[in-house]
């Protein structure tokens, strides 16, 4: 329908929706049902999203090997529920680990759009953050955040696997902040999280 909600019927349905919504909101706030629901349901969903983050198994460049090492014996990222899947439909985190060339910009945007909500993006390494050593190149975008919104930046060329695991921890903090549990000690700042500068 019309995007502005202009409704020339006798009764404006949007107005009704807003009014009723406010009233029910007040009612829910008055009775503490909303808190109960938030505590019961929101906490559970938030916990589950925190505890099972499936990154997309996409290896672009050097950081891909550190990603593989993070999944291997010494740094066992699967302990923390980080479990690599190959299909974007089944993933929560797009782990961009390398420079984004002009040829790869469209495919990675398509991958990002194939992932179902809720989804997050981690820019791993200098190339994904700002182009890194290739920021002068004629074929490289200056960071993946020119095409995809990025949640967590992990600097390093390449970052160590510990840094990757720490980045997933930072992402968990952000999910707590987003999530329905208001008093889980979420940090206040809304800036994207950068590993290592806290």
């Amino acid at each position: 329908m019309d995007g502005d909600g202009q409704n020339y019927s006798v009764f404006n349905s949007r107005m009704l929706v807003d009014t009723v919504g406010d009233i029910t909101d007040d009612a829910l706030k008055a009775s503490r049902i909303k808190d109960v629901i938030g505590v019961l349901v929101g906490r559970v969903f938030n916990w589950s999203q925190r505890k099972s983050l499936f990154p997309l198994h996409l290896g672009i460049k050097c950081c891909a090997l550190e990603m593989a090492a993070a999944g291997a014996s010494r740094f066992d990222a699967e302990r923390f529920g980080v479990f690599f899947r190959s299909s974007p439909r089944q993933c929560d985190v797009l782990l961009v680990n390398g420079p984004i060339s002009k040829k790869f910009a469209d495919p990675i945007v398509r991958l990002w759009e194939q992932m179902p909500e809720p989804k997050w993006c981690i820019a791993m390494g200098e190339c994904a953050i700002s182009g890194g050593p290739y920021f002068q190149s004629y074929n490289i975008l200056e960071g993946v955040d020119t095409v995809i919104p990025v949640d967590v930046y992990i600097p390093g060329c390449p970052p160590r696997p510990e840094a990757l695991i720490d980045g997933f921890d930072k992402l968990r903090q952000k999910i707590i902040r987003i999530g329905a549990a208001p008093d889980d000690g979420a940090p206040e700042s809304k800036n994207p999280i950068i590993v290592g500068d806290d």
Binding site: V44, F45, W47, S48, Q49, R50, K51, S52, S73, R74, D76, E78, R79, G81, R85, S86, S87, R89, Q90, D92, Q114, M115, P116, E117, P118
Partner: protein, 555 residues
């Protein structure tokens, strides 16, 4: 055949409960004296005249007829609820075993070290010294044993890197079985994910396929007994029911692969269809052998046959059948080495590439449920079900037999079934961690050329045992014919194969023989043509040089 005695008499309890409650309902029913019309008189002014209700039906007379139906209905509802809940709860260790056991296997030097390290760890590093958490220092001897074994056989290494690599210790409390609740987290997350249907997909079939898979997989457990009196339903032909329902899920797999409108999913669905067709038939014939030797199509009677009549597990009477059943079941549940339909290397995720969110969660659960069903069926068919290992033998020991009999009578049968099933799943995981993936044509060749004749041979062996060991009334003709036919079929299939075709199949041809692909597509000048061009060029060069020399001489 007398069923095994088990104090966990679930059906008996529930039927007694239902009967008791029904009798109470019967007693609480109104008696005849209110039979008649009921008149409600209202105050005047509200309604003109009184309200007269019709004749109240005499419940007590009708209840006599519907009571058995009601009892059956309530009893079935309660037993199905209990069995389904039990199945769901006892399936949770399956992904836990998968994660932990595969982790240990992949992290270890070898399989034996792995199995030992599951409990005592290596190089002084265990899965978090769980014995130190035990109260009153009860775990001290375990710690001492661990230290001793590590000092003797452990791969204790002077390199801290190796020791660190060997360490897969966990964080958290030991009594929470770290990683055990990962499955809860995953599936709650799947429930919260967005549901995407590809634009070009066939929406109806796309939505129906996961329902087919999960529903048929759950329905298998309607006929799976966890104990002698712990089952939802036990018809006479429960094995046939189970196998029939078990074979429906591949249809859903093919639906999912086709409806996603994706080349990878389509190839995966095709492979799945071909592979499952090739492995259903040996599976059914193998199960038929089990039914023949047990003389029944009922799972409970098969287990009772092993427990009481023959007093020998089918594993020891039909080792070939057990091996065939294991192989075909691994192929049925599409695990390595038979996981061509979902080969991550060439097909992105196989037939479920396009599925995400809760639909994929359902399929993921269905995979593990199929594995679980396969393990329980193996335990029931070949491992004596709810019978303790060598129970009859140990109970016949002169002195200690009585005590053992008392001990075994105290342990409910479901405990043995679950222990056997979980250990068998550990074997599945072990196979997955140590084998590679087989190609499609090799899978089909193996299934059609080896498993089918071998299953026929297994059936013949089962008939032979049945005829000659239990009731000798049959003549030798039928089993002899069966054995000969199986052997002849095997000889024909194996010996009379086309060696050239096999050679061309396993070694197709060198890259010389095929049409040149990129970049060799352009016409490549052969060495002879180069020779010809070059000789012409040298001849011209020689002529010009000669002429030059002549002109110099002339001038």
């Amino acid at each position: 055949m007398m069923a095994t005695s088990d104090w966990l008499d679930l059906r008996g309890w529930i039927e007694g409960l239902v009967g008791w409650s029904m009798d109470n309902v019967h007693d609480a029913l109104p008696s005849d004296d209110i039979d008649g019309t009921v008149t409600i008189s209202l105050p005047t002014g509200i309604w003109p005249e009184d309200i007269i209700l019709g004749r109240v039906f005499n419940l007590q007379d009708g209840f006599g007829q519907i009571q058995p139906a009601l009892e059956g209905f309530f009893a079935a509802t309660m037993i199905c609820t209990v069995v389904f809940t039990t199945m769901m709860l006892t399936m949770l260790p399956i992904p836990y075993i998968e994660r932990k056991f595969i982790g240990r296997l992949m992290d270890r030097l070898g399989a034996t070290t792995t199995l030992r390290s599951l409990w005592i760890g290596e190089s002084g590093v265990t899965a978090g010294k769980w014995w130190d958490q035990l109260p009153f220092g009860m775990g001290a001897p375990v710690g001492w044993l661990n230290k001793t074994l590590n000092s003797i056989w452990g791969n204790d290494h002077e390199l801290e890197a190796v020791s660190r690599v060997n360490n897969r210790g966990y964080h958290g409390y030991w009594f929470l079985l770290p990683g055990f609740f990962q499955a809860f987290a995953d599936f709650t997350k799947f429930a919260g994910k967005e549901h995407i249907v590809p634009k070009e997909a066939d929406r109806t079939v796309y939505e129906v396929a996961p329902v087919i898979i999960i529903s048929t997989t759950v329905l298998v457990f309607a006929f799976v007994p966890f104990g002698p009196h712990f089952y939802a339903a036990s018809p006479e032909l429960s094995v046939v029911f189970m196998m029939a329902i078990f074979g429906v899920a591949p249809l859903g797999v093919f639906f999912a692969g086709w409806a996603s409108n994706n080349k990878y999913t389509l190839i995966g669905g095709m492979r799945s269809a071909a592979q499952l067709t090739a492995y259903e038939i040996p599976l059914l014939i193998t199960v038929l052998g089990v039914c023949v030797i047990s003389g029944s199509f009922n799972v409970i009677e098969i287990v009772d046959f092993q427990a009481q009549e023959s007093n020998v597990w089918n594993l020891f009477m039909l080792p070939l059948g057990a091996a065939l059943f294991l192989i075909t079941m691994i192929a049925e549940v599409e695990r390595i080495p038979f996981d061509m339909p979902e080969a991550e290397a060439e097909l992105v995720e196989g037939w479920w590439t396009e599925y995400g969110g809760m639909r994929w969660g359902l399929m993921f659960a269905a995979e593990y449920q199929r594995c679980y069903a396969a393990c329980i069926l193996f335990a029931l068919f070949f491992l004596g079900g709810w019978e303790a290992p060598f129970q009859g033998t140990m109970e016949s020991i002169p002195i200690a037999g009585g005590g053992l009999e008392l001990l075994f009578s105290l342990i409910p049968g479901i405990v043995w079934v679950l222990i056997k099933a979980w250990l068998l799943f550990a074997v599945f995981v072990w196979i997955r961690a140590s084998l590679h993936r087989v190609r499609t044509d090799q899978i089909l060749e193996f299934g059609w050329q080896w498993l089918l004749p071998l299953s026929i041979v297994n059936l013949a062996i089962a008939m032979f045992l049945r005829v000659w060991v239990w009731d000798g009334s049959w003549g030798i003709v039928a089993p002899a014919v069966m054995i000969l036919s199986g052997i002849v079929g095997l000889v024909i299939l194996v010996a009379d194969e086309d060696k050239e075709a096999l050679e061309s199949m396993t070694r197709p041809y060198s890259t010389y023989a095929v049409t040149k692909a990129y970049p060799g597509r352009h016409p490549q000048t052969s060495l002879e043509d180069l020779q010809r061009q070059y000789t012409a060029y040298t001849a011209v060069k020689a002529a010009t040089s000669v002429s030059l020399s002549e002109t110099e001489a002339g001038s």
